[in-house]
Amino acid sequence: MLSPAIMRSNALSPMQSSGTTAAFATTLSILPDAAKLVFRGKTEAIEAAGAHFGVKPSLEACRFAAVGGRSVYWLGPDEWLFQAVNENPIEVFGGMSVALQGQACSLVDVSHRSDGIAVAGPTAALVLNHGCPLDLSLKAFPVGMCTRTVLGKASLLLSRSEEHVFHVDVWRSFAPYVWQFLDEARSLS
């Protein structure tokens, strides 16, 4: 088995030093690595998964729930993303697999598939709207909402953790593009 230390390099690590250095109202920052598991299955299985994980998954569409560094994102009517910040994916996956034994469901470790960006500041929604067609007003996209959507040419998972803080989870190969897109957008906002 691979040692976790040699397993992962963040696709965004070259980005932080590049780009513009001027002060903007919106900040971009790289989110810490996390164990990420995609779960698909019926209601009974998701309840068992949530009970083991320590976070009750939302059954309401487009909502996430978080306890400490662990969160569960609703992705579809039978699909959720389990995320544990700064935890070892192998251990989280192992524990979940045992807890889900006998349940009709699937669980896939996607920890290395995507990287996270925090977009923060009073104009964060405006910056995202340069490439995302969703209504990001608080009424239409409240704190606690999450959804897959598009930004420019990239598909990503967008969530709102605070009024002025959005998290973007994007596949590695699109991560530099999304970072540069947001960096340019904030310089225009």
Binding site: A61, C62, L75, G76, P77, E79, P133, L134, T147, R148, T149, V150, S155
Partner: protein
Amino acid sequence: MLLINCPYCGPRPEAEFVNGGQAHIARPADPMSLTDDEWAAYLYMRDNTKGLHHERWRHANGCGRFFNASRDTTTDIIKRTYRMGERPEAEHQGAKP
């Protein structure tokens, strides 16, 4: 931008969806008993409706689910969206469900 009402996520921008072609086409139960012409008709022949058309859409950059939509091909207005396995509304069934 055109808004499409996903049965799971609610109204969302068109850019998040992909069209999946005509809806309510049942796969023949026993393909081996079909002639080549019948099989070709199942695979390739589709209505070219002017007016209300029932079609599949997928919320590809959203919940990922397929659903059905009844869309007027002359106005591009989507009258109704409904989940897979459901039938089009009776009032709409005149237009070849």
